[in-house]
């Protein structure tokens, strides 16, 4: 194991949504460092992925704030605590070590050890939506993909890209020069992707550098996981075959609980029951805060998650610093807290 992939810290936060981000702040005030793991390529969770431009009206002191602004302000607020982000990583497994600490392993085999785990995973991991095609699984991972990690993998392929959003259009434009042939298939002849990308794509179609198919993918054909053609059908018209060896499908993301279900925690309808004093799960040292937890009277509000983060941190302190005494302090008056936040530097220099 190299140093780059093995980490140790005070607290591991699974999920970098607003509640996970604010947990960094509450932990930081109590001298606990945090690493965050998130499957998305950016912090912010649902706020950044689902509704970055949508206004939120129930954040205290912000009469109106968008999902992206809230994320940006939280990132600014936690900056003094130097959180470490492991993005595009799915928290895959969790094991208890002999010293009582936890070891989390991601799908890219990054490991992080810490005395405390905080699950702030909201509605679960964002995973690709899949089309309803019965033999889809036979081709997944060999000929059918839902993301591009290395463009080179698609060089010289006869590529079919499915979808009408920015992912589908961006990858169409990026991979067209590399691919042997490229076709785009979308349900209708209108696209929700950025107009500039759509115009470029239409230009390539006019120049006969790629094909555009309007319709849905109905069937996949091939052998041993190797795709040879797909059947496309426009509603009310005859189906026809499109030759291709690789399919990239971009139908958006949806949230699923994922491997957290196998962490050995008690679950209640895909939510994690916690107490309302410490927001600790059925395992000591593992906490659940935000939309993913459940307790009597639970409200799925960002505001509730912030409160839960503050109380969680009090108990987390007892695991991370068992020999230290916990003192409750206010950021308005405590020089100690203000030093941690880096807001006293000017006064000291003066």
């Amino acid at each position: 194991m190299t140093q780059d992939t093995a980490h140790k810290t005070d607290a591991i936060i699974i999920g970098a949504g607003p509640v996970g981000l604010f947990a960094v702040f509450e932990l930081g005030l109590l001298d606990m460092k945090a690493h965050l793991v998130d499957i998305l390529d950016k912090p912010g969770g649902q706020c950044a992925e689902l509704y970055p431009e949508k206004p939120i009206y129930d954040i205290p002191a912000y009469p109106i704030i968008t999902g992206q602004e809230l994320t940006d302000r939280l990132m600014e607020q936690i900056e003094p605590f130097g959180p470490v982000f492991h993005l595009q990583q799915m928290a895959e497994s969790l094991e208890k070590m002999d010293n009582g600490h936890w070891k989390l392993t991601t799908d890219d085999k990054i490991t992080i050890e810490a005395p405390v785990i905080i699950i702030a995973a909201g509605g679960g991991s964002f995973m690709p939506k899949k089309p309803n095609i019965k033999n889809l699984e036979d081709f997944e991972g060999t000929s059918v993909f839902y993301s591009v990690k290395q463009m080179e993998k698609f060089r010289g392929k006869n590529l079919l890209i499915a979808g009408g959003g920015d992912s589908a259009l961006d990858w169409t434009l990026n991979l067209q020069p590399l691919a042997q042939s490229l076709s785009l298939v979308h349900r209708r002849d209108e696209f929700r992707a950025a107009p500039d990308s759509v115009n470029k794509m239409r230009g390539l179609v006019e120049d006969r550098k790629m094909d555009l198919h309007v319709g849905d993918i109905k069937e996949l054909h091939g052998e041993n996981g190797k795709l040879s053609r797909v059947v496309v059908q426009k509603r009310g018209e005859e189906p026809y075959a499109v030759e291709c060896d690789t399919l990239l499908a971009f139908y958006g993301l949806t949230m699923k609980l994922g491997p957290i279900a196998n962490f050995g925690l008690n679950l209640h309808e895909n939510l994690i029951p916690v107490d309302t004093e410490k927001f600790e799960t059925s395992e000591a040292g593992i906490f659940a805060i935000g939309d993913i937890n459940h307790y009597p009277g639970k409200l799925k509000l960002i505001l509730s998650g912030f409160h839960e983060a503050a109380l969680m941190a009090q108990q987390a302190f007892r695991y991370v610093h068992p020999d230290k005494k916990l003192r409750f302090q206010y950021t308005t008056s405590s020089t100690d807290l203000q030093n941690k936040l880096g807001v006293n530097d000017k006064d000291e220099a003066a």
Partner: protein, 105 residues
Amino acid sequence: MKIIVTDQSGETHELEAIEGWRVMEIIKDYGLPIKAECGGACCCATCHVYVDEDWQDKLYPPTDEEIDMLDEAMDIEDNSRLSCQILMSEDLDGLKLTLAESACP
């Protein structure tokens, strides 16, 4: 006011509807299987429903934003709508719809 909702298993339910509420919220509040993961922001397609033929013309037509978002639902039909974009009013008393498979949590 009522709406009549057939769930994914084919069972039909009569739900008390409230003026001004989004149909998605009424279905969710009643406890039927609807994911509605973005919470009514027209940012996912997990509150996808099929509107009964007799009622299609009584609804406001979908916005471009709703039509775009429906691209993310896999089981689209001509009567597909996102239930978070249907606002309950007196005119819709008795509205009949069916929950799509893709709305299942």
